[in-house]
């Protein structure tokens, strides 16, 4: 879920909520650290 807040002319706020490309709300998988990625590249990726 992404939020974008703007202020209208009469000082009221308005928030756009968008979900496209925002995933399911679950936490994204943590990015693999470079050293792990390099090690995986050396030994080849395992199939899940």
């Amino acid at each position: 879920m992404n939020k974008r807040k703007i202020i209208l002319d009469d000082r009221r706020y308005l928030i756009f909520y968008s979900f496209k490309d925002a995933g399911t709300g679950q936490k994204p998988a943590p990015a693999r650290r470079r050293e792990n990625r390099d090690a995986e590249n050396k030994r080849g990726r395992r199939k899940s």
């Binding site: 879920m1 009469d10 928030i15 909520y17 968008s18 979900f19």
Partner: protein, 335 residues
């Protein structure tokens, strides 16, 4: 003029908001203020050509921040306070026609996330003690705009009905050591006749004590005080059971059933409300397809409701309505 006036007989606040007399009233479709602003067309409340869900401060709020100074001086008997709070409008979709029933499951799931976010953000404000998420649907309820939308009132105090629920829940907890709402849900499940639908995380029922013929409560099976502790699965299950109940309502008589939908969560005043329990209430005014239940002399004057029906029969009607849960109330919509 806008202020809180104390009702010393009922011991509750009354909100005066005289500017609301001038709010937009059933405008033609081309001038809907909740639609996106199309190029060359009149500017609506939403300065964008499209949107998924938008939330904005109500142009005609009952409560506002900062609140204007009250227009009258208080006396020893008549207390007055600024009507400080926030009133938001939640536009469910950029599509002008249709209702929340037409939302896809994904859209409903997104709305659940928005509701949770608004509860968290508004509830975190130091002057907000209670966040009420609700929807008034249909001309018979008195809506002034037909674009699918709900509202949120962030109060500087706990309103009387949630306050009464909190007190009875605390009394029950002190007496039994158990949650009043968990016990109600258990009793409804044990009896079974008033259950309308069920999934892994929620139960929908017309409870034993219903005051309106088709008054459905949705209870979380787990003992939550608010949406903030829902798991991802529970948020999905809430979207699912909401869709089931709304479809049943509209299929009951083949018409879009008016209702008030009200979400009750714990106050946000920083106190512990572990004895309270998250739930949603639906109050449709219809007692038949053509006839409405009015809050007349007995209800308004005595606060005592007369229900012309019994919950067991009305729940059976809703179970039979599509999507049918007649042969077991457990139903999960897909897609």
């Amino acid at each position: 003029m806008s202020e809180l006036r104390w009702h010393p007989i009922l011991e509750e606040w009354v909100i005066t908001a005289t500017h609301r007399q001038n709010r937009t009233f059933l405008p033609p479709d081309d001038y809907c203020p909740l639609c996106p602003t199309k190029p060359g067309a009149f500017p609506t409340e939403v300065p964008a050509e499209d949107y998924e869900i938008v939330v904005f401060e109500n142009k005609f709020p009952s409560l506002r921040n900062p609140a204007p100074k009250p227009s009258v001086e208080e006396t020893g008997l008549y207390k007055v306070r600024p009507a400080q709070g926030i009133c938001e409008v939640v536009c469910y979709t950029s599509r002008h026609t249709g209702t929340l029933t037409d939302a896809t499951l994904d859209e409903m799931r997104n709305l659940v996330d928005v509701w949770a976010d608004r509860y968290r953000e508004l509830g975190s404000l130091d002057f907000i003690d209670y966040v009420l998420i609700f929807e008034n649907k249909g001309r018979d309820i008195g809506v002034t705009l037909f674009h699918p939308h709900g509202q949120i009132y962030a109060f500087p105090y706990i309103p009387p009905k949630p306050q009464r629920e909190l007190e009875s829940a605390l009394k029950h907890h002190n007496r039994t050591g158990r949650c009043l709402f968990c016990d109600i849900m258990d009793e409804e499940k044990r009896d079974g006749r008033r259950i309308v639908a069920e999934n892994d995380s929620f139960v929908a029922a017309i409870p034993f004590f219903a005051r309106f013929p088709y008054e459905v409560y949705i209870f979380s099976k787990r003992h939550h005080q608010s949406m903030l502790t829902f798991t991802v699965e529970e948020r999905g299950d809430l979207a699912n059971i909401l869709k089931v109940v709304l479809l049943k309502y509209d299929n009951l008589w083949g018409m879009s059933l008016p209702y008030m939908m009200i979400m009750h969560q714990a106050p946000t005043d920083g106190r512990d409300y572990g004895h309270y329990h998250y739930h949603i209430e639906f109050h449709p005014p219809n007692r038949t397809k053509e006839k409405l239940k009015y809050l007349a002399g007995c209800e308004t004057g005595a606060g005592s409701y007369i229900n012309d029906t019994v919950a067991e029969e009305k729940a059976a009607e809703l179970r039979a309505a599509e999507p049918s849960t007649e042969n077991g109330t457990f139903l999960r919509l897909d897609g």
